[in-house]
């Protein structure tokens, strides 16, 4: 049987055989999983976490969990979807653990408000990086990874309304920082 999901077949050749061997604890198969999904997992982690060190730790934690839990993967969804959910949970856990940084971020934001008005145009990467951590996580998980507000709320331990309002506030800020605001 060949895998039907494009993301998996694109990233992982002979996915079914690799998964079967990984379930038996075959180290080469586990490494093949790591090699196939290393970049998307790191990319997701880096977009949510503030530092490269945190993102690398999330990468490691994610694959440690994948290796431990591959026997539990039921193949009801795509392998990437399963790994991505582990990665997102680990990244959000890291974000909660580093909550104090959000306070710093808020401070930076208040202090940088005047500067923000003089720099009307930022590039997309810089604007994304400038968002408070929780807002950035919601933007990335919703707009790029395609999670619903209910799913994000579940992962964050918040309400769906919280996710929606974070997304709207983030886009209002991004519009301003990217110089996309127009007067009516």
């Amino acid at each position: 049987m060949t895998r039907t999901l494009a993301m998996d077949s694109y990233l992982l050749a002979d996915a079914d055989s690799v998964i079967a061997r990984a379930r038996q604890g075959d180290e080469a198969a586990l490494e093949a999983l790591y090699r196939a999904f290393e970049v998307p997992v790191y990319n997701l982690a880096r977009r949510i976490c503030r530092t490269t060190e945190d993102a690398e730790d999330v990468l490691q934690e994610t694959f440690f969990e994948v290796c431990r839990s591959i026997g539990r993967y039921r193949e009801e969804g795509s392998l990437w979807g399963w790994i991505r959910t582990i990665a997102a949970s680990k990244a959000l856990m890291r974000l909660r653990r580093n909550k104090y940084r959000d306070t710093d971020e808020l401070h930076d934001e208040l202090m940088g408000h005047r500067k923000e008005e003089t720099h009307l145009r930022m590039d997309l990467e810089a604007a994304l990086e400038r968002l408070p951590q929780v807002s950035r996580a919601v933007v990335w998980l919703h707009d790029v990874e395609g999670y619903t507000h209910d799913e994000i709320a579940g992962m964050m331990g918040k309400t769906s309304s919280f996710s929606k309002s974070q997304l709207a506030r983030a886009h209002a800020r991004l519009r301003r920082w990217l110089g996309e605001e127009v007067t009516a």
Partner: protein, 200 residues
């Protein structure tokens, strides 16, 4: 004219219809400003999706592999240790029952045996749950770790209790095996509750 809020514009990108969507779409049909705003929102999201993938600076696979190997080793050692302990306790119990039959101590061996049997049932239940392969949140993992540490401590005390004089040994063994059963019960509960909570 009042234009649509960012919250409404973001909501219009969601599949399905929310209360108020119809009015918002009606406004959108007649407002070039809001249509342009929604289009910019679409474009911004498209640009996010097109951002180049970021790559880790160093290979973390060796760290992952070493942790997996260490955990497998720990797992094997733990279960081998428990099996040995149960066997040793069975022998000690059999010797105690056959050689020294004091009326006051008659109940203890039977109760110890009962506690040991219960302990084995819980060990099997834990094996079926296969906690090593489950994803736990930080708090649950902390509780499970604490229980496992306490079980390991009880196991060490059980080994020491085997060396005691029979008179006090049985009472101590009974106390420890009961404590072990309680801890195992709690550990199984932690994993079962977690499993049902996340639908595993």
């Amino acid at each position: 004219m009042t234009h649509l809020s960012m919250e409404t514009l973001v909501g219009l990108r969601e599949p399905g219809n929310e209360p108020g969507d119809a009015a918002a779409r009606e406004h959108l049909a007649s407002c070039t400003f809001c249509r342009a705003e929604l289009e910019r929102l679409h474009q911004r999201v498209a640009r996010f999706k097109a951002l180049p993938a970021l790559r880790p600076a160093r290979d973390r696979w060796p760290d992952v592999r070493d942790r997996v190997r260490a955990e497998r080793k720990r797992h094997r050692a733990r279960f081998a240790g428990l099996a040995g302990l149960a066997a040793a306790a069975s022998v000690a119990l059999a010797v105690g029952v056959s050689t020294l039959r004091q009326p006051s101590a008659e109940l203890a061996p039977a109760e110890i045996e009962q506690a040991m049997a219960r302990s084995q049932v819980l060990e099997s239940a834990l094996d079926r749950i296969d906690p090593e392969s489950r994803v736990l949140d930080g708090r649950t993992a902390g509780i499970a770790q604490e229980l496992e540490d306490r079980i390991a401590q009880v196991d060490r005390e059980l080994q020491l209790a085997e060396l005691m004089e029979r008179q006090s040994r049985d009472a101590e063994l009974l106390r420890l095996w009961r404590e072990r059963v309680g801890l195992l019960d709690a550990l199984v509960d932690v994993h079962v509750t977690r499993a049902s909570h996340v639908g595993l």
